[in-house]
């Protein structure tokens, strides 16, 4: 590799970027737009579930129970109905996602006489909402009964079932907030999408404009051309990473538990990996339209395969294996590890080495697959 020729290519690429102001602005704006859009939209925390109330007891106790549901923020008792028919219709039409039926004699049960059951009906079409409603409904009523029946509770415990008392403790994200899980992954996903597209067009553009033909008769080496084209985008990609990281962590309040400097350094390695994928696409594709199609063919499945949304552990084996061939898979582990768990290098070493190997291999393949010939 000749350093002067490499520098010439780098300088030329910077000039192209400077002249194409619109693309430069897009490249810087994209992480901002994406982090806000996805940060708010990809949210599996369910709150404010509309609830119908059929209160047949109309007692202080029944009103108190409804209030407990309301105070949890999970439920909004939006409609009060008079009979089960009305209630069914509301669920059928989708106006409410759940309903609570408090039978007459509820207050007596609470006070220790009689035996009546509160019923919580849940619309199970959307499993995410249903699961939240089910869990929080169950917890709320259990807590309520604990408050109301301290004596009964203690007597039940002492006399009752064999005690297998499991104490659970959730680490790293104790409130199980989905943004804590989503945001670090989102930063990686945004990085991947922007950087792959940045370089996917770089060589193809020269093919389409015919400028490649003249380059081919110069002594410039494929590796000089490819590395030279990447260098300016490594800077832009790193800037994009910092923007996404800054807004992701500050705006969405996901503090970085680990070493920020290590995270940025590994981010740069990931940027190089993704840019190499883009360049590789660029060497194979003959037109910009083809490059676009190839980029999507890679980017869309990687959202799923990398484990950005769904855990890879629960995927069928071949699909899980496919995830191993995507650099984002490893970078997501690094992001989540450093941001949420405060992992250090020793814990993430294998991911880092794999990522490095990916970067070097992709660059080598791109350099080899770029032939200085038109046929």
């Amino acid at each position: 590799m000749n350093i002067k020729r490499l520098m010439a290519v780098i300088k030329k690429e910077f000039l192209h970027i400077r002249r194409d102001r619109a693309s430069l602005i897009m490249a810087v704006m994209m992480p901002l737009i994406f982090i806000f859009l996805f940060g708010y939209a990809v949210n599996t925390d369910v709150e404010n579930i509309d609830m119908a109330v059929l209160d047949m007891d109309k007692s202080m106790e029944s009103r108190e129970l409804v209030k407990k549901f309301e105070a949890s923020n999970y439920f909004v008792p939006s409609v009060y109905v008079k009979n089960t028919g009305e209630l069914e219709r509301l669920i059928d039409t989708g106006n409410v996602k759940c309903a609570i039926i408090i039978p007459s004699g509820f207050s007596k049960t609470v006070n220790g006489f009689g035996d009546s059951n509160v019923q919580l009906i849940i619309d199970g079409v959307d499993p995410t909402i249903a699961r939240t409603a089910l869990q929080s409904g169950f917890l709320l009523s259990k807590n309520y009964s604990l408050e109301q029946l301290p004596q009964l509770q203690s007597s039940q415990l002492s006399s009752g079932e064999p005690g297998l008392d499991v104490r659970t403790k959730v680490w790293y994200n104790p409130n199980l907030e989905s943004t804590k899980f989503t945001i670090p992954g989102l930063i990686g996903l945004i990085m991947q999408n922007i950087t792959v597209i940045l370089t996917a067009f770089s060589l193809v553009r020269e093919k389409e404009r015919g400028t490649i033909e003249l380059l081919m008769v110069t002594p410039v080496k494929p590796a000089e051309l490819i590395v030279g084209k990447m260098v300016p985008y490594i800077l832009i990609g790193t800037l994009d990473f910092l923007i996404a990281l800054f807004f992701g962590t500050f705006w969405f309040d996901v503090p970085i538990a680990g070493n920020t400097l290590l995270l940025i350094l590994l981010g740069v390695i990931f940027v190089i990996c993704s840019l190499s994928i883009g360049i590789l696409i660029s060497t194979i594709a003959q037109t910009q339209a083809q490059a676009m199609q190839m980029a999507f063919l890679f980017l869309l499945p990687s959202i799923l395969l990398s484990g950005f949304i769904f855990p890879r552990e629960s995927m069928p084996f071949p699909i899980m294996v496919a995830g191993y061939f995507i650099p984002l898979t490893y970078f997501l582990k690094i992001l989540r590890g450093i941001i949420l768990k405060g992992s250090d290098f020793t814990i993430l070493a294998s991911e880092v080495y794999i990522l490095l190997a990916f970067g070097i291999a992709l660059l080598a393949v791109a350099s080899i697959s770029f032939k200085k010939r038109l046929d």
């Binding site: 290519v9 030329k12 002249r19 404009r209 015919g210 400028t211 081919m216 008769v217 046929d375």
Partner: protein
């Protein structure tokens, strides 16, 4: 003449694209320092032949040498000693004149101490003084083509390969361009050029006619005109095409007007 005195030497050079034989068994011997013209109708295989000489296309079969370097195995060595100008403008339209020239000067590793001097020589030769900061894409045809020529000369090549360098350029720019070419030839640079302009062809030392990938005629302009008993090179060109296709080509543009008028007269 021996092979060693040749700038270009090829033997049965052939290029196939699938079923199509673009260049079929072309053998060339181009002496050093000559202006060598390649003529032929569109699609005859001129550009394919030229691209094989530049090392941009790989020949399907046959062999060739440029200044003694094998076109298959030593194409990177060849690239240091040739300059190539493709049919289409291949410089960066979003870069300025000077940025384009600088880029190619660096890519060709022109030494730092003489680079600026070389660049100003090129700017002067191409008549681009005062336009250094203009975007290449904003130049008109004649300027663009002289800029492209300038960029191929930065590394002082021993041979220039020009593929229809003057297509779409006005008559004055065409003459300015050819003045430069003749000056370069006098300095000892071998020139290979394809063209459709017969006046340009007449200025060449030697010509070949290519038709459907074959060489169908060879010689100096005078020899060719005498051999075909023609008035000028354009007639030679037409005669070759007629012989090869067996079809008559309308004699002249002047005659054409009358033929069309007669035909219209018949209809009335």
């Amino acid at each position: 003449m021996t092979k060693e005195n040749m700038a270009v030497w090829t033997k049965s050079l052939t290029k196939r694209f699938g079923d199509l034989v673009a260049v079929n068994g072309v053998s060339l011997e181009i002496p050093k320092g000559s202006i060598y013209g390649i003529l032929g109708p569109n699609g005859a295989g001129k550009s394919t032949l030229i691209r094989m000489l530049c090392g941009v296309l790989t020949p399907t079969s046959g062999e060739g040498e440029i200044f003694g370097y094998d076109i298959l195995k030593e194409s990177e060595r060849i690239k240091q000693s040739i300059g190539y100008m493709s049919q289409k403008f291949s410089l960066y339209e979003d870069l300025t004149v000077l940025e384009n020239i600088r880029f190619y000067a660096q890519v060709y590793s022109v030494p730092d101490d003489i680079r600026n001097e070389r660049i100003s020589q090129i700017v002067k030769m191409a008549g681009l003084e005062g336009r250094e900061k203009q975007l290449a894409g904003h130049l008109s045809g004649g300027w663009k083509q002289r800029l492209a020529l300038g960029c191929t000369l930065l590394h002082k090549p021993k041979m220039l390969i020009l593929d229809e360098p003057t297509s779409g350029v006005d008559p004055v720019s065409r003459r300015v361009f050819w003045q430069i070419i003749h000056r370069l030839a006098k300095e000892g640079i071998t020139i290979i050029v394809t063209t459709h302009y017969m006046d340009e062809a007449e200025g060449c030392d030697e010509l070949i006619f290519i038709f459907s990938g074959h060489i169908i005629g060879k010689g100096s302009p005078k020899e060719l005109i005498a051999e075909k008993n023609a008035r000028n090179l354009e007639d030679v060109f037409i005669k070759y095409v007629e012989e090869d296709t067996g079809k008559k080509v309308e004699a002249s543009f002047e005659d054409m007007k009358f033929i069309l008028r007669d035909k219209e007269g018949d209809r009335h």
